[in-house]
Symmetry: C2
Amino acid sequence: MSKKIPHRFYLTEDQMPKQWYNLRADMKEQPDPMLNPGTLQPVTAKDLYPVFCEKLANQEMDATTRYVDIPEEIQEFYKMYRPSPLIRAYHLEKALGTPAKIYYKFEGNNTSGSHKLNSAIAQAYYAKEQGLAGLTTETGAGQWGTALAEACAYYNLPLTVFMVKVSYEQKPFRKAVIHTFDADIIPSPSMTTNAGRSILEKNPTTGGSLGCAISEAVEKAVTTPGYRYVLGSVLNQVLLHQSIIGLETKMAMDILEEYPDIVIGCAGGGSNLGGLIAPYMQDKLLGKASPRIIAVEPASCPSFTRGRYVYDFCDTGRVTPLARMYTLGSSFMPSANHAGGLRYHGMSPILSKLYHDGYMEAIAVEQTKVFEAATFFAKQETILPAPESAHAIKAAMDEALKCKETGESKTILFGLTGTGYFDMTAYNSYLDGSMTDYIPSDEDLQKGFDELPRIPGIQ
Amino acid sequence: MSKKIPHRFYLTEDQMPKQWYNLRADMKEQPDPMLNPGTLQPVTAKDLYPVFCEKLANQEMDATTRYVDIPEEIQEFYKMYRPSPLIRAYHLEKALGTPAKIYYKFEGNNTSGSHKLNSAIAQAYYAKEQGLAGLTTETGAGQWGTALAEACAYYNLPLTVFMVKVSYEQKPFRKAVIHTFDADIIPSPSMTTNAGRSILEKNPTTGGSLGCAISEAVEKAVTTPGYRYVLGSVLNQVLLHQSIIGLETKMAMDILEEYPDIVIGCAGGGSNLGGLIAPYMQDKLLGKASPRIIAVEPASCPSFTRGRYVYDFCDTGRVTPLARMYTLGSSFMPSANHAGGLRYHGMSPILSKLYHDGYMEAIAVEQTKVFEAATFFAKQETILPAPESAHAIKAAMDEALKCKETGESKTILFGLTGTGYFDMTAYNSYLDGSMTDYIPSDEDLQKGFDELPRIPGIQ
């Protein structure tokens, strides 16, 4: 007799995790170290201090501390919007006619609209603690910029957001939310930095990219006294903070006496995926269980499925350290018709290593299929998903339909990272039939690979 | 030693109310009956059948059934987004430096963005059960239209939404969400109905009003075979469905061993307010407790505080029955500079009667003050409120600041009905300083009163 599973399950406040989980502590092989692009030597925490807040730089380098205490102030902030619900998709299951059990962890019920707030408040807290004068960052679709603006407003910490120009122009309401939380926004590339001016000189009409915006935000941070730079994905520290997603999920599923056969997350830089899968990957690394873990990325920006596992810059302006990761090349920009976020050229080095070592799978999906899944899901489950999150929905629905064919009652877990309220332009283009798909040709991708850095003795 | 109060408190699924509460069953004096505008005789349920779904018409007239079973299918739907959290505003309290305890019931965490879904799913369910071919409705700010579109999509029930033209033009993304859920949207006034054509003839450039849109939606319903009309506020049936808000709140506060000294809700047509206060008003009617109950309305549309308690049409086209309520006259339209919803000319007859009989208070607030409170709240509590909801925030903050002066530790409860993600144009005008306030002059209001219906022997 199995336990009665509610539609929405919330941990109590007392059950909320008090520590983050550092996946690296259980990895048999570590990701290759970041390299200083000048010396080609491994970067140390101290090397990062001019760019990152010190405690965050230390977290970035720490591969051994398995559990990291969440500072009490951050726990207090988390309690304003966490725990997030673990939802059993009864209505979606019924509509699909599948014997599979579908669960999703929903991170969209906060004003930032996504999981990004989990790391934003941590990064703002450490910056405040260090007495910094302000922060800089970049944002693409705008979820990270909104989350960090919320976190900085809470601490009265000045913030400058470099927003990818095409988003800046297409999403006036995202800008308005960020303004409500007092942050400055600069469309990127801009004339306010050397990196921006140089990119604009080569390509005056560019709509920008995350890689460009990172270059500008880093430059602004290192040239403004008391400022540091923060990033919402890709980095080890961000995956650490996002482990709260997976820890809550696992605790909730344990209470419900459930364990996923398949764990699915969308993947851009890897922050949500890395957070959601953390405790399940731990089980896998420790040989305790062997769930399938699937990363879902857009076919138009396929870093896992068609990228190379090499050292690359994290930004377009080539000012950051080199990281070994799955990458399409830091000069890669997704096609202008790509609406759905997840447009970063690289991928979390931790996830890249785990994928390379065979601990997880990856698939790429086309955007019209993603929006088809998103609208179907919305009508069954009443939640309008972010396009990014809908990549995971699409994959989860496909797995559930396979179960329908085979008659298997698998337990499928996916991450619903956010809501799509600021993505209605993209939904409109899907609904009116003007949305198209784009799959880069091998020649398109080769251009990005041709500009990968050459590193004597390494690549 | 008082109980430890979590930041967010959720009932379990098993604790969710299985019945709605019908406030009229405990009222010592009933609201005056609706009148047929032709015969001036009290309307019967059967009179309403051509317009309303039968079970909803019956609920509209039922003043005696104290508790109404919530059909199981509606309970199942509720479980997708309910229970909503009862939140202790620890961070707001701290920022205000008040000894008051502030609680709010947050209804915004669903895709409709507000409490409106509570009644929308009920109305769609009864329509489906009756085998109707489709529904019509109107929407102003768009929350009701979105909620009903979600509910109708769930039941594959065709829906036509008449959207107040000024909102239709200012809120393209609201439209897009409604389209995602397959509903048709017509800007009102339109040329598709006699009511719309007649209004446009008199005033070709009008931006429309809820009153106009109601006229068109009713006409479309009664002239389309198998169609009925549904309304998202004002009506007794809507207050019945919305009682779920108050019932959940009271059960949660009972568990936390708390009881409010003051209950505050924003008031447009009264659906949220009537729902939130229902069980507390019951206590007051039965002499069990005497919390202060405060309705908060916009100074630009002050039906409680400056309206008349008389019979009036529910719509501008004068096709609906007459209801006795606080009204500014069905021809009243709020100033174009009014951004914050709550723009209906009348008020729930139930709430009107209770206010008239002294069971509750009402105040009117100006919109720049409302947005000031909204942005302050957002920075402390991380939730960007709907402008409508921010009326209640403003009043709650003022009461908390009074407690700071007097040193009293009152318990304040307010309803946070929704989120402001589709209201960023209004937020922008507040942030850039272009937002202005408008308080209608006595002469302005007199124009609406002059057009009130004359009813021999009554008014």
